[in-house]
C-alpha cells in the first residue's frame, strides 16, 4: 500500500518543513526551559561535589553556608579534627559580591580557602590553567565563566589580586562564577570593616565606660583589637575517613560542639529541594503552559492541513478507503511534524543554550522524555483532525 502521509508530505515539503521549523522553535524554547531547570540543579550539585567535603559544619540552627548566613569561629576546626572519623578539615568563607570587570558589573562568589596545605576541602578540585594559590595573600583562582584571564589583576574591595589559576564549572547555586582567594583575605573582605567604620567603632568603644576604665590599663586597646579582628568563617568543611559513617560523625559534632553539621544528602536537600523549589515550580508551570501551547498549535496546524484536503478525503472515502487509512494518514503526518519539530527544537536548544547567562543543561533523558511527550501531544492533537476527516461526507466529491 502506498504511504499516503509521506507522499503528501513530499508533495508539499516546503510548507511542511517550514511549519515543522516554526513548531521546532517552540519545542526548542520548551527544551531550553527544562535545560535551565536542570542547570540550576546541576549548579547546586557541582557546588556540593566540588567543595570536596563530606560534612558541612555551620552555625547552630542555620541552613548555612549557601542557603543562609552562618558564622563560626575559625578555630573550631581543631576540635572537629579530633573527632573519630574525621580525616581532614578546612575552613571556608563564602561571600557573593558585585565587582567590576571589563567595564561591566559582574556577580561573583568569593570563596576563602586555606592555602597552607594543598588538598584541603574547599579548594577547586582541578585547574584548567595556571597553578594553585601558593601565597597567603592577594592571589586568586577564577572560574573561566567570570571572564578573567591568567595573570590578570583584579580589584576585590580594597586590594588587587593576581589570577594565578583558572578552573571550570565552579559556580554558586545561583550560577555565579567563583573566585578563590586565601582564607584570611576572604575573612577580611567579609568581616573586616573599612577605615571610617573602624574609627567610628573605636570612638564608640572608647566612649563606653565599661571598656575605658582609668584603673584598668590596656582594656580599651584589647577591646578595640578584638572588635577589629576577622576571626570568623562560614563553615568548616570536613572530609571523612574512608570507613566513617557521615551521620554518626555529624551527630558527634552536633552533640559536642554545639554546631550544626550537614551530610552530603542533607546539603543536596537544602540546595536542590529547598533553595530552588520555588524556581522549579515556576519553570514547571511554564513548561506545562508551553506544552499546552505546543499541543494547541499542532492541533491547529494538523486540523488546517486536514481541512485543506476535504475534497481529497471525500474522494478517498468515496472510492472506498477505510477510516483507518485516512486516520493513519493524518496521524502519520502529525507524528512527522512532531519529528521535524523535535529535531529542530533539539538543535535550536543546543545552539542557543550556551548563550544563556546561566548554565543550560540538556540531558539525553530529557530529550528522550521530551520526544515522547512531543509525539504524544502530536498524536492527541491529530485526534481533532481525524474526527473532522471522518465526518467528511463522501458525497462532497459528487457535485449537486
Amino acid at each position: 500500500m502506498i504511504n499516503l502521509a509521506s507522499r503528501d508530505i513530499l508533495h508539499g515539503w516546503g510548507k511542511f518543513l517550514f511549519t515543522g521549523i516554526g513548531l521546532g522553535l517552540l519545542i526548542g524554547a520548551t527544551l531550553t526551559m527544562a535545560g535551565v531547570f536542570r542547570g540550576m540543579v546541576d549548579d547546586g550539585q557541582v557546588l556540593i561535589d566540588n567543595s570536596g567535603a563530606d560534612l558541612w559544619v555551620v552555625q547552630q540552627g542555620t541552613l548555612g553556608p549557601y542557603a543562609e548566613p552562618s558564622s563560626i569561629r575559625d578555630d573550631v576546626w581543631r576540635g572537629i579534627a579530633g573527632i573519630q572519623g574525621v580525616a581532614e578539615t578546612g575552613n571556608a568563607a563564602y561571600l557573593t559580591i558585585q565587582m567590576q570587570h571589563g567595564g561591566k558589573d559582574t556577580r561573583v562568589m568569593i570563596v576563602g580557602i586555606e592555602v597552607d596545605r594543598p588538598g584541603r576541602p574547599g579548594a577547586p578540585p582541578y585547574l584548567t590553567f595556571g597553578r594553585p594559590i601558593l601565597q597567603g595573600h592577594y592571589e586568586a583562582i577564577a572560574d573561566e565563566k567570570s571572564g578573567h584571564k591568567l595573570g590578570e589583576r583584579v580589584r576585590i574591595r580594597r586590594h588587587d589580586y593576581t589570577i594565578v589559576g583558572l578552573t571550570r564549572r565552579m559556580v554558586s547555586s545561583s550560577g555565579d562564577p567563583m573566585i578563590f582567594v586565601p582564607l584570611k583575605d576572604a575573612q577580611e573582605i567579609q568581616f573586616l570593616k573599612d577605615n571610617d567604620a573602624l574609627v567610628n567603632e573605636r570612638a564608640r568603644t572608647a566612649a563606653n565606660p565599661a571598656f575605658n576604665r582609668p584603673g584598668v590599663p590596656g582594656l580599651l586597646e584589647a577591646a578595640q583589637a578584638s572588635a577589629a579582628q576577622a576571626r570568623n568563617v562560614n563553615t568548616v568543611l570536613v572530609r571523612l575517613a574512608p570507613d566513617a559513617n557521615a551521620d554518626t560523625v555529624a551527630g558527634e559534632i552536633q552533640r559536642w560542639k554545639r554546631l550544626t553539621a550537614y551530610t552530603k544528602a542533607q546539603m543536596e536537600d537544602i540546595l536542590i529541594a529547598k533553595l530552588i523549589a520555588t524556581s522549579a515550580r515556576q519553570i514547571g508551570m511554564f513548561l506545562v503552559i508551553l506544552a499546552i501551547v505546543t499541543a494547541a498549535i499542532v492541533a491547529f496546524i494538523i486540523y488546517t492541513m486536514t481541512l485543506a484536503k476535504v475534497r481529497e478525503i471525500a474522494v478517498l472515502k468515496l472510492i472506498g478507503a477505510q477510516n483507518r487509512t485516512i486516520a493513519g494518514m493524518i496521524l502519520q503526518q502529525a507524528l512527522g511534524l512532531g519529528v521535524i519539530g523535535f529535531l529542530v527544537g533539539r538543535i535550536s536548544a543546543g545552539l542557543w543554550g550556551p548563550a544563556f547567562p546561566k548554565y543550560v543543561l540538556l540531558l539525553p533523558q530529557d530529550a528522550i522524555g521530551g520526544f515522547a511527550i512531543v509525539m504524544t501531544i502530536c498524536a492527541l492533537a491529530s485526534l481533532f483532525a481525524i474526527r473532522a476527516a471522518l465526518s467528511i461526507d463522501p458525497a462532497e466529491a459528487i457535485g449537486g
Binding site: 500500500m1 502506498i2 499516503l4 468515496l318 472510492i319 463522501p394 459528487i398 457535485g399
Partner: protein, 238 residues
C-alpha cells in the same frame, strides 16, 4: 461472464425523500432504470431534477428511502441496504468519474490509478501493473510518472476514467465528465467511455447537460421532478 444476461443496474421504484413533515422534499419519486453490461446511457435533466440524488443513491453514498436496487444481479437495496460494507461496495463494484477529475494531487498518475486496487488489498506491483494497462488502453501511458498538476484537463479526465476502471467495476457513474472540456476533448472522453464500456463490459451512466455529447447516446434517461422516462438517443457515431 456470469452476469452477461443480467442487467448491470436495475432500479425499481427508487425513492429518496429529504427532511420530514412539511419540510419534506421528494427528490426521487419512484425511479425505474435498467442498464445492460457494456452500455453507455445518458442521464439528463434540468437543475434540481434529482440527477445528483440518483447518482448518490446509485453510488451508495446516500441511502434511498424506498424501492429496490440491483447491481449485476445482486440486490443491494430493498427498502434497506442489503450490503453491510458500502465502502467495499463502492471500492470493488462502482467506479466514479467526476466533473472535475479530483485526482489525489500528492500521488503521481500511476499511483492515482493503482490506489484503488491497493485499497482493495492488491499488492503494489500488481496494482501498478493494472494501472499501466489501463493508462495504455487510454493512451496516456507516456504520462505515467507525471504529477497530476503537470497534466492537461483532458489528460486528468482520462486518468480519472482509468481509476474508475481499476477494480473491474461493473458500473461507472460519470457526473458531468465533459463539463470543463472543449468540444473536441469532450467527444474524445465520450469515445473513450464507449470504448471502455465495450472493452471491459462496463455499464456507464453519464449525467450531462452537454448538448455536444447528448446525441452520441443510444439511450437516454430524462429525469424531471424526481421521475425518469426513457427515450432512444440518436447514437451518433463518434
Amino acid at each position: 461472464m456470469d452476469n452477461v444476461d443480467k442487467p448491470a443496474i436495475r432500479l425499481s421504484g427508487l425513492k429518496k425523500r429529504y427532511g420530514s413533515g412539511d419540510a419534506a422534499v421528494d427528490a426521487l419519486k419512484g425511479v425505474d432504470m435498467t442498464l445492460w453490461p457494456g452500455e453507455v446511457v445518458g442521464l439528463v435533466g434540468p437543475s434540481g431534477s434529482g440527477k445528483s440524488t440518483l447518482l448518490k443513491c446509485l453510488g451508495a453514498v446516500i441511502e434511498p428511502t424506498g424501492g429496490r436496487m440491483e447491481l449485476a444481479g445482486e440486490v443491494i437495496y430493498d427498502n434497506e441496504w442489503k450490503i453491510p460494507d458500502l465502502r467495499a461496495l463502492r471500492r470493488d463494484r462502482i467506479g466514479f468519474v467526476f466533473q472535475a477529475p479530483y485526482l489525489i494531487p500528492f500521488l503521481d498518475v500511476t499511483d492515482n490509478v493503482a490506489l484503488l486496487p491497493m485499497l482493495a488489498g492488491q499488492d503494489k506491483a500488481t496494482a501498478r501493473k493494472r494501472a499501466l494497462e489501463l493508462l495504455t488502453a487510454l493512451d496516456i501511458q507516456h504520462r505515467a510518472g507525471a504529477q497530476v498538476s503537470q497534466l492537461s484537463g483532458g489528460e486528468q479526465q482520462r486518468v480519472a476514467i482509468a481509476r474508475s476502471l481499476a477494480n473491474h467495476a461493473p458500473v461507472i457513474l460519470a457526473d458531468e465528465p465533459t463539463a470543463p472540456l472543449d468540444s473536441e476533448r469532450a467527444l474524445t472522453v465520450v469515445r473513450i467511455l464507449n470504448d471502455m464500456a465495450v472493452q471491459y463490459r462496463t455499464s456507464i451512466i453519464v449525467v450531462t447537460h452537454d448538448e455536444k455529447i447528448i446525441p452520441t447516446f443510444k439511450r437516454i434517461y430524462h429525469i424531471r421532478d424526481g421521475r425518469t422516462h426513457e427515450e432512444a438517443g440518436e447514437g451518433r457515431p463518434l
